[in-house]
Subunit: 247 residues, 2 copies
């Protein structure tokens, strides 16, 4: 497992506001007392980044160039019909932990996690020079680690029959970031780029990464065996050019 | 809009541990200072319920009878290809706020929200006598409020062509509740009942509520015009009997 570099100050607050908010070490104690701790989205950002977007940014939404990654477990529903809750829990735990580790190692954040799926954002709130490339590095690491650890788990739990694998979708471009409801105070990203990344993930087979041209052109050297396809996706009128990488 | 009854103590901690945790009024101030505030899942529970499941329950997961509700916006992807981020943000805001209000009014919690969708749990951590019925009451209220407010918004934003509506799926039964990853400290529910509710929502048309027999039999009197169907859903080998209510 990749060892995460643990920052003493919040990388998000530093990048977005040039404000040093201690999140580790003795200086972080008074902050912890008033509820400012590390964020569950990324342990190098703090709960100010996570829950005070509108107050920090002084606006409801901003436009940012990002890369969006979606990942989920293929065959999850079918599998969880056949095995017990404890086995499903182990499977989810391996998946979520491996994904988070890979995403955090490239300074991305796990923005949303729901059941057997998650959505990550690269380039906000921590700036990343070449975010499409870093997101693909994370996707490759997710596939490598999940393939290995899910196969090990499958043996341990003596699951036979169905294949367990992960599907990943990646797209890069302009998104709107903000808080999009009155009650939930976590920020998120919306827009066409987000929807398209989600649809690519739904189209990805077990062990597959599907990415758009916008991601591919930043990381050709990592995509030796990528296959070029044109696919039609739900909700989009035109066919989309994608590049597929198999593990 | 339904006015929510605002509790002075956390209804979750009271039900689960018989511990009175003040969340409103002067007694709540010292708790707020150490980061214990109202939860974003439901304003009548606190962040102890939300983020300290394993510590409170002293176990990784528990089995609970619940009703699970999924809701999302039909045609969201297609619509967000045609309109700007500000319009999409208004749409999401109306949707999430109306859903939360309806769910909270019946003591349910908004456990997960992701893009144009959400998942609610009824009967944990706040116990509800007849949770399938209360969940259906919430679903009916979601459909009524969303239909009215989304139509109003559609006129204001001068959106023409595509229909905007909400699809809802409901199923009731035993789920596993716990924290299913090392990093995310919010609890969630997993299991076949959750997957089936999610699949029913995907199969629901705009303005439709799809529920299983397990929900229907608790609320026949609310389902005057329900249509009985047998549908096949992804990941489940057998066809599922459902009852459909149109707005």
């Amino acid at each position: 497992m990749v060892e995460l570099d643990r920052s003493l100050i919040c990388k998000g607050c530093w990048s977005q506001m040039h404000m040093p908010i201690p999140i580790r070490g003795p200086l972080s104690l008074p902050f912890k007392l008033v509820g400012i701790t590390t964020s569950k989205m990324n342990p190098n950002i703090c709960t100010i980044c996570e829950r005070a977007f509108a107050r920090v940014k002084k606006t409801k939404q901003i436009t940012v160039q990002t890369t969006i990654l979606f990942a989920d477990i293929r065959g999850y529903t079918r599998l969880s019909e056949r095995v017990g809750a404890a086995e499903v829990a182990s499977l989810l735990s391996v998946f979520h932990d491996e994904c988070a580790t890979a995403i955090w190692a490239q300074d991305g954040i796990v923005n949303k996690a729901m059941g057997d799926g998650l959505m990550a954002i690269f380039n906000f709130p921590i700036p990343i020079d070449d975010h499409p490339r870093e997101a693909l590095v994370a996707a490759l690491s997710i596939q490598e680690q999940c393939t290995r650890n899910l196969a090990k788990l499958k043996d341990e739990l003596e699951l036979t029959g169905s294949e367990i694998g992960v599907g990943v979708g990646l797209h890069s471009g302009e998104v709107a970031i903000g808080e999009f409801s009155g009650f939930a105070t976590d920020f998120t990203a919306i827009g066409s780029v987000v929807n398209q990344a989600a649809r690519l993930e739904s189209s990805a087979a077990a062990g597959e990464i599907l990415m758009t041209e916008e991601v591919y052109r930043h990381a050709r050297d990592l995509c030796g065996a990528a296959e070029h396809r044109s696919i039609s996706i739900k909700g989009f009128s035109d066919a989309v050019d994608v590049f597929a990488l198999r593990n």
